[in-house]
Structure formats: C-alpha cells, structure tokens
Amino acid sequence: MSDRVMIFSQRNLKELMRDPLSYIFCIGFPVVMLIVMTAVNESIPPQAGMTVFQIQNLSGGIAVFGLSFVMLFTCMTVSKDRSGAFLRRLYASPLKGAEYVSGYTLPVMVIAAVQTVITAAASVVIGIFQDYTFDFVGLICGMLMLIPIAVMFIGLGLLFGTIFNEKAAPGLCSIIISLAAFLGGEWMDIEAMGGTIKKICDILPFYNGVKAMRFCVAGEFSEAVTPLLITAVYAAAVFVLAAVCFSKKMKSDIR
C-alpha cells in the first residue's frame, strides 16, 4: 500500500477521533443499548418466549446496529470533506482516486473493529450477570463474520457521502439505520414472524449479518456460512459501486 494512503488515513482517523460524537455513537451507544435492552429483557416474562433480547442473541443484533452508525460516520466524513476546500486542494496533490477511497475506508475499519470488540466484551460482562457464558471461539468467529457487513456499511457511507451533500447524506443514513434495525431482526424475532417479512429479511444483508454472528455464538458454525456469503456479495457489490462513484465524482469535480 502506498505511503500516501497511510498518510491520508492517519489524517482521517485523527479527524474522526477528535469528534466527540464518534465516541458517543460508535462506542458508547452500543454499550448503552446492550444494557438497556438487557433491562428490557428482564421485564419480559419467560412465558412470552421472546429470545431476541437475550444476551446471546442481542450481542449480534447490537453489533450490526453499531456498524450501521459507522456508515453514518463514514458518510459524514466524506460529505463534510467534499463540501470543504481542503479536499479540493488535495485534488491538486499527487493523491489518486483509489487512494482517497482506501484512505477513507481504513480508519473507519479500525473504528468498526474497536466498536465490535467493545460490544463483544460488554456482552460477555453482561452475560456473567445473566448466567450466560459465551463460548470464546464462537464469539471470536462471530465477530469475524461481521467483516463483510462492516465493509458493506462503510461502502454505503462512502456512496452516500459521495453522491449527496452534507445536508442530505446523514438523513439518508438515518433511514438506512432504521431499516437495518427493523429488517435486521435486532428488535424483533424475524423467525417467529415468518411470511413476507422473513423473506425480505433473508434477501437483504442486514438480517444475514446478524444471523452469521448469532449462529457462531451458538456454536452452529455451518449455519453461518450462507448468511456470510450473502453479506459478502452485498459488501463486494456496494463497495465497488462506492469506489467507482467516488472516482467518477472526483473526475467530474475536475471539469
């Protein structure tokens, strides 16, 4: 990888890490949600058979939910840069199209990784209070299963940040965040709902991302393969699209 990518990545990481919102949304929020939803779970009578908020299922749901916020941050970084004079000044530098894309992606990958580890660690701690012991290997595998969905969310962030302006882009991300939460089975039991909703969720990447982690946590590794592949296809498609759009947009900015 070129030095230029690393140098631009470092700048972007600094820019992200100096924004207090990054900590609130990317790190604090998932932990708070884990605690809140665990509390909600406590007040659900066992007869209800509601399992989505049990920590072994909740961890996957919140991990994917958290990654959707990484999308928002990617998008905000890119759209903010595009509206400012700094990025346009860089267009006159030796930094090239693909290097911008890598330079934006690497730092948010780091944030996604840190966030996922914190979410997992918090889940383990909550598990202790809930009398649930996470299988270490299952949890690690589960986290790795999230790489494609993370790439997909980052790709979406890059795409929205490239196509839309600073005002419109975050709003669009919010819509995707809500959509991902509902269709990702983070707040409801998709399996129990069945029907059209389940079919839609099975096609879209969000629920597959959640399932891939949940299956691993449950030790059902072979079950995780199909959801993993589905998210990987989405990730590749979205990311390539985002990279192409960014390079196109950059060329059209230089008119």
């Binding site: 030095d3 230029r4 140098i7 631009f8 470092q10 700048r11 600094k14 820019e15 100096r18 924004d19 400012g84 004079a85 700094f86 346009r88 000044r89 860089l90 267009y91 006159a92 530098s93 030796p94 930094l95 230089i254 008119r255």
Partner: protein, 245 residues
C-alpha cells in the same frame, strides 16, 4: 529559455459562459506574477486550469515544459496552491497540517518535520503550533494555508486572493511574508486589490472578462497608459475594452 509557465491560447467555457477566453502569456522562473482583475474576471479559473483542478476547453499550459492536458501527473509535484477559501484540515493542528502536506508530497517523516519546522520559523507560527486549524483567526488560517503549500517545496506557488477578507494589519504581515518568498519560488498571485499588485509584483497581467488586456511591469503598464498609478492604469485598460466592444 524554458519558462516556469507558458499559457498558450488557454480557454475555458462553462456551457455558454467563457470564464477564460483565449489567453496567452509567459511567466519566468523566480518571478512574482500577479493577475489583477475584478470579481468574475477569470483569475481563479486560470489557476484551477494550471493546477489540474479544471480541464481546459481550449489551448494548453506548459509547466516547466510539461502540458497540463497530457502530463498533469508529472506537473502536480512541482506545484502547490493556497486556494481562495481557507483550506486546512480543521481538526488537525497547525503542526499536523504542515507535516501531513509534506508527507503527502513524498517527504519522509524526518524530512517533513524538518521542513515544517522551517516553515513555522519563517512564518512565525510558533505560538499557534498546537492550535487546531478550525479555531485559528482568519489571518492565521491564511498564513497556514500558504505555509501548507510551501512545505511541499513547490517550484511554483499559486496564491489565490491571499489577503481577501483580512484586516489591514494581517494584510501587511502577509505581504511581508510573501515578499520574503520572492526569488526563492515562482509565485502566481491573483488579487483585486490594486495596492497589493503594486506592492508585490514583478509583472502584472490585467484581466477582465476572461481576457488578459495588458501585461508587463508596473512601469510598463503606467507608461503605456500614461496613468499616474496602477488604479488609473487599470481603469483605462478596462475602459478601453468597453470601447472596443
């Protein structure tokens, strides 16, 4: 002789609007060349065309003999610019912005820091070293922006309206900084302030409506128009253009 910049029948149209209209001129190495003109004259567009931030719709520019149309990647390392708007990374400090820029243009970490230290000294920025760019005052932001351009050791430095929006003291300080650069690097400066062009330039090109109407040293412009000062000369040159249309 090879010129720093050779503009050859350069044009740029935005749909039907001719922002730059068939201009030609040569800029010698080491000179401070000013483009003087009112808002909308085409100064920024000309700079964007030379620095690769825009593509000509006609003509060419040779930078150290290399064409902006076909050899922009080779030209890029030779140039840097301080754009009309303040353009530093807001969350980075003055020091970090300088090192970032130098490294992006290929300097090693040690060399980048060495160059940044030199610029901090030359621009007397010691007091603001650890201030984040977005919290700097207008004068300091402009100074940083120019330092960020110089830290990459360009052969040609473009300053687009460097003192726009600055108070009179900040402007004078920046003039001193710019004067200190004369001879060390070729400078292309745009301005709509007569006194700025008068105070700093080796040569001045008067631009109106996308065209260069006159070009020469201050004395040459004055004697050609018979005007007592640049402002009068500018007005005469601009009026002449009106009479011709």
């Amino acid at each position: 002789m090879e010129y720093a910049i050779e503009i050859k029948n350069l044009s740029k149209s935005f749909s039907s609007k001719k922002a730059v209209d068939d201009i030609s001129c040569k800029i010698e190495k080491g000179q401070l060349f000013s483009m003087l003109g009112v808002n909308g004259a085409g100064k920024t567009t000309t700079i964007r065309l030379i620095t690769g931030l825009s593509k000509p719709t006609g003509g060419d520019v040779l930078v150290y003999g290399k064409s902006v149309n076909s050899q922009m990647e080779e030209i890029k390392p030779l140039l840097n610019l301080s754009p009309q708007e303040n353009a530093a990374a807001g969350a980075l400090t003055v020091w970090e912005n300088l090192v970032f820029m130098a490294r992006l243009y290929g300097f090693s970490k040690a060399d980048a820091e060495k160059r940044a230290r030199k610029l901090v000294e030359d621009f007397s920025m010691e007091s603001e070293l650890n201030t984040k760019a977005k919290t700097l005052s207008g004068g300091w932001q402009r100074r940083l922006s120019i330092a960020m351009a110089l830290v990459t050791d360009p052969k040609i430095l473009f300053l687009d309206e460097p003192t726009l929006g600055l108070d009179v003291l900040a402007r004078r300080e920046l003039w001193t900084v710019i004067r200190s650069l004369k001879g060390k690097v070729t400078i292309v400066l745009t301005t709509h302030y007569m006194e700025e062009a008068e105070a700093l330039s080796d040569r001045i090109a008067v631009m109106t409506k996308g065209k260069i109407r006159a070009e020469g040293t201050l004395d040459e412009l004055l004697s050609a128009t018979g005007a007592p000062n640049l402002e009068e000369a500018f007005i005469k040159i601009a009026e002449e253009d009106k009479n011709n249309v």
